[in-house]
Symmetry: C2
Subunit: 214 residues, 2 copies
């Protein structure tokens, strides 16, 4: 199965949703599906689905459709979630605890190898199997364990200092929950932002527009 | 200031980020900015910024630039965050507690008027000023208080039953953290999804691509 070059991010961003649907079918023991069936379940056109899957090579067979377990494995490979990138989490407040305690890192391509906080009152407490470590020792930890990604559950005010440090220690990939615009200062980093405030404002917009229309 | 019809969602989705930058300038006491200055701070082209702002009417003045406090107020109006839509939160587990305890609802267009859980062990506990209410009584609460939006911090397995109930009681807008695809079953609802798993898989993809390229 050969990847084509330059698959657009809009196609990539649809893959987790395909994966969610296909994994559910897979868990239910189904082995075959078609672009038509998927389109009905997912609210996309069949031709959109065929186009998306074609970006990554020839998945389907005429008259047979798609083999669900194989398609799941291929999407796992494309998304890179069949590997386990070591990662750390910075900021063991409520959000950090929620993520460290509940995300299924292994299923999502990562392994959480350390949780850090600067607040001495939190250091030593446990989240799932992780003892919260002192942020003061982050440099030694990074040198020894070489995490590839850092999850930032820290306030905007702390974020630029912390990113400057992590970046200088070699961490170049971030899952960013702070409102700091990392890629403005570090154009070479890989970032995925989760801006909950932005999302809620967009919902406010959608709601306002609906009310005006009624 | 007149809104143009049919502003694209891609423009709308950039507004929270503009708002974040402009609010920071506003808090620092700055009163004027230009599309050129904003473009340098935000990594967008000046013409993109002018185009975006023009969708909503004539904000800027030639040779003067933009008046920051006025621009903030206009964006608040466009996003509808100058109103306070009453909302409820369903699911007072870790994620629900984090959101109820830390989001600045008022600044984002909402007022949280009730937190619900079906787990009797949680009912009666407090999150910030909210006593957790029993989900069993949700219908009476909705009839009396008429929330316009529900935040869903519930597992996929519970989500379709809960949405069926909330929808039948008149709630048509959702901030959805579950992995249930609400709009497939209810095409008339307004939904903003936050799929943390999807976001992490996309990060895994970006990281894998970077490593392959090196």
């Amino acid at each position: 199965m050969q990847k084509k070059e330059h698959v657009s991010m809009s196609v990539i961003r649809r893959l987790p949703r395909y994966y969610r649907f296909l994994s559910e079918l897979n868990r239910n023991g189904e082995t075959r599906t078609s672009s038509k069936e998927l389109s009905e379940r997912m609210g996309l056109t069949a031709s959109q689905i065929r186009q998306d899957f074609n970006c990554f090579g020839e998945f389907g067979q005429q008259g047979y459709g798609y083999h669900i377990p194989q398609l799941c494995i291929e999407i796992e490979k494309i998304l890179g979630i069949d590997t386990k990138h070591p990662c750390i989490l910075i900021g063991a407040g409520n959000l950090g605890r929620t993520l460290a305690g509940h995300m299924d890192f292994h299923a999502l391509g990562f392994e959480l190898i350390g949780v850090f906080d600067g607040n001495e009152a939190l250091v030593g407490q446990n989240i799932r199997s992780h003892k919260i470590l002192n942020y003061r020792n982050i440099q030694d930890f990074i040198r020894a364990r070489q995490p590839e990604m850092a999850i930032l559950c820290i306030p905007r005010a702390a974020a630029d200092t912390i990113v400057r440090e992590l970046y200088s220690f070699g961490v170049k990939t971030y899952w960013n929950f702070s409102h700091y615009d990392i890629s403005m200062d570090y154009p070479d980093v890989v970032v995925e932002n989760v801006h909950l405030n932005d999302s809620m404002m967009i919902l406010s917009y959608k709601l306002s527009v609906t009310e005006t229309a009624e």
